[in-house]
């Protein structure tokens, strides 16, 4: 076993255990904290995959932003915190079954891909250049220009949509503002 392998195994074991705790924790805040650990583990896996940009992005977006959002939402829907009842619904066994079957199916299918045991070759481009390549590709007409601009529209739609949905009904303050 090489050091990289040991690191990988430790990190992925942590990630998976944390993921299981995410879906089984009784307290939602604990589930959110386990989610942070799990997603942090994925960030370390990105480092092992030599995608350091995605690793820091994972931490910034998932841990710094989405996890905070989830914790805020948990606090806002607080009544569940006292819920000492089961965190899972009546059909949890069906969910477990589906998850196990899907995992088995995925593993079997993965086994049939010829390139499954490929070892990583050295990165053909140095990492610093990779990032500027990514930047160029994102705004290139022949690259991902359309998805890039659509992403901004998607974010705009998400912002407006969630503001409309989440804002309280009474609109006294802005009426005064607009006058």
């Amino acid at each position: 076993m090489t050091i990289a392998q040991i690191v990988f195994l430790v990190i992925s074991a942590t990630t998976l255990v944390a993921s299981i705790l995410v879906v089984t924790s009784r307290k939602m805040v604990h589930a959110a904290l386990w989610l942070v650990l799990s997603l942090g583990g994925v960030a370390v896996l990105f480092v092992l995959l030599q995608a350091s940009f995605l690793a820091v992005v994972q931490v910034v977006i998932y841990i710094g932003a989405i996890a905070i959002l989830i914790i805020f939402a948990v606090m806002l829907t607080r009544r569940m915190m006292y819920d000492t009842g089961s965190p899972i619904n009546r059909y949890w066994w069906a969910g477990a079954l589906a998850a196990v079957l899907l995992f088995a199916g995925l593993v079997v299918m993965l086994g049939q891909i010829p390139s499954i045991t490929t070892q990583a070759s050295a990165l053909p481009i140095p990492e610093g250049e990779l990032l500027s390549l990514l930047g160029t590709a994102l705004v290139d007409v022949n690259g991902y220009m359309l998805p890039f601009e659509v992403a901004s529209v998607l974010l705009l739609a998400a912002l407006i949509g969630s503001l409309v949905v989440a804002r309280p009904m009474e609109r006294k303050t802005e009426e005064g503002d607009k006058r």
């Binding site: 932003a65 905070i68 930047g135 705004v139 705009l156 802005e174």
Partner: protein
Amino acid sequence: MHDQWTFIAFFLPVGFLAAAVAIIAGRLLGPRKPNPIKQSTYECGIETVGEAWVQFRIQYYIFALIFVIFDVEAVFLFPWAVAYNKLQLYMVLEGVLFILILAVGLFYAWRKGALEWS
């Protein structure tokens, strides 16, 4: 690349553990005489009414929401900024367009009063 990260792989845990050592030292050095009054929640001398975990105003969520969207936007723009010197003019303008589209969202939130605190 991995060389760059090995330092961080050492550095973050060291920062964490150094703090942990200090806390454990504090645990060992300090006295421990717990009593119910000492351990009660600090509430300016007034008795606690209800649970601490009260509900919070929606405004906190709204700010977190706008933050998430703009954070993602900035992250999208970082590769663009790194590649800036290699970009042609229209590519730079695309990034500006990206910012402007998001600015519309900020403007909308402003007009709708979502940015007010009260």
